[in-house]
């Protein structure tokens, strides 16, 4: 099937969504996604960040779709034409969605451990306004303890429900979910239960904001002060391939390897994530690369300029042998043999 996004065409399999097709093309036309997660099933369609304009439904029925559609849950049709970054309607819609998402967000980025790798931060940097029109008081929740490893900040949550999908699909018994309705909806465990499943730590990686963060890393450092390295270890529960964030010789935290869309390549277990914080536990492969403009790259000096080598004749700076002899002081003997004679 042929689909055109922002003027760029690509051939995709039937059943691909517009967002997946856009990600195959890559670049600026990829819609932002807060709730959709390609590694988890049944995610997407909740945050409305990825709205796109379909200007031509398909070759068979070329009428445009009247409303903007959520690209993460809309499948492509043959000959479909989509405007994402090109459309002013889409830009307007994303601005409004960002404004809505930020209504109840506490904007405590200086305190939040997610700052620097936060999807909502990226979204509001690109589409957000610098001032708020909301005059009511922000909705707040009582802090809740959900176990020794994961810190829940319900105030920061945008209810994308990725963490619920993680618990559903990776763990055998889900103990948390969305409680209450409407404005009171919140992620919580029923009657303050601790989340202690072996794969539950993936909620931290999956969370697009700082609602679920690593308790063992809490306030230890900022994201951009530690150096990320790819590392692996033999783990019987998961693939063991992780990114370790180091400060000097200390492993401050362990996360999954996130790709350019901030999705983990493979899920890792809690043992790898929370308990293996010794350098000896890991085989370190090398530094992990991030997007050029990511704050994680600040002050890292990872880019070494190529060494410049000038290929010239030997001793070109010294000049030719006979010239040097000619210019040299006549009083000083040039040859060692003469020197030894004296």
């Amino acid at each position: 099937m042929k689909v055109t996004i922002d003027g760029q065409s690509i051939e995709v399999e039937p059943g691909t969504t517009i967002l997946q097709a856009a990600r195959m093309i890559g670049g600026e036309s990829v819609p932002p996604a807060m709730c959709y997660y390609s590694k988890l099933e049944k995610t997407g369609g909740k945050c409305r960040c990825c709205l796109v304009e379909v200007t031509k439904g398909s070759d068979a029925n070329p009428t445009p779709m009247p409303k903007l559609v959520a690209s993460c849950v809309t499948g492509v049709m043959d000959g479909m034409e989509v405007n994402s970054k090109n459309s002013t309607r889409v830009e307007e819609a994303r601005k409004s969605v960002t404004e809505f998402l930020l209504i109840n967000h506490p904007l405590d980025c200086p305190v939040c451990d997610q700052a620097g790798e936060c999807d909502l931060q990226n979204l509001s940097f690109e589409h957000g306004k610098s001032e708020t029109r909301y005059i009511e008081e922000k909705r707040t929740f009582e802090p809740e303890n959900i176990g020794p490893y994961i810190q829940l900040h319900m105030n920061r949550c945008i209810l994308c429900q990725r963490c619920v999908a993680v618990a559903d699909q990776l763990t055998d018994k889900r103990v948390h979910g969305v409680m209450d309705r409407g404005d009171h909806a919140n992620i919580s465990t029923c009657i303050s239960k601790a989340i202690d499943n072996e794969m539950s730590g993936n909620m931290i990686d999956v969370c697009p904001v700082g609602a679920l963060t690593d308790k063992t890393f809490r306030f230890k450092s900022r994201v951009w002060f530690s150096k990320p390295y790819n590392a692996h270890r033999d783990c019987d529960k998961c693939c063991g391939k992780t990114t370790v964030w180091m400060f000097g010789n200390e492993i401050q935290r362990v996360t999954g390897r996130k790709d350019e869309f901030h999705e983990v390549e493979e899920f890792i277990c809690n043992t790898c994530r929370f308990e293996k914080k010794e350098v000896n536990d890991w085989t370190i492969e090398g530094p992990r690369k991030f997007e050029k403009y990511s704050v994680i790259n600040r002050n890292k000096y990872a880019v070494h300029p190529p060494k410049v080598e000038i290929n010239t004749e030997a001793q070109i700076l010294l000049g030719r042998e006979q010239d040097r002899k000619k210019i040299s002081m006549t009083n000083v003997p040039l040859e060692n043999t003469e020197n030894s004679k004296q």
């Binding site: 405590d108 200086p110 700052a115 306030f219 450092s221 900022r222 002060f225």
Partner: protein, 179 residues
Amino acid sequence: MSLDTISLSGRKKEVSNKKMNFWESIYLVAILKGLMITIKHLFKRKVTIKYPEQIREFSPVYRGQHMLKRDEKGRENCTACGMCAVACPAEAITMTAAERKPGEEHLYREEKYASVYEINMLRCIFCGLCEEACPKDAIYLTESKVIVKSASHREDFIYGKDKLVMPLEMAIKNSKSLN
């Protein structure tokens, strides 16, 4: 126009080798002229000050020693977000964050605070970028009105929170002036 008459600076003077007359040769007029200039300078305003007794007034935008401000209730503004450290072109700032414990709400404004905050004054170039980067209104170079003093040991230039945080008396004065 010939090349000799052109003066790019406008101060070109023709030098002649003519003989001095009597009045010029006794130099009295020239000496008096010179003395007049000296006497004139006696009555002009002095450019120098008597430093240790007199101290020059700071310009309102003068960037001196940093100050970590407290808010109107005397709580520290800084939340150790690290923006100043990442903005610092000289990499002079380091910090360690800590979580505020219950009962410390009167000391720190936010949940997180800087337990260690150090500026290496030997590295600092007083550019003021930390002040611009600060989202919490915490660090200022214009408030303290103090120049960083010289010292004879390198360790003495690493300023910790004991030197940087706004003194309590100043915070009390600020809160009184508001009420």
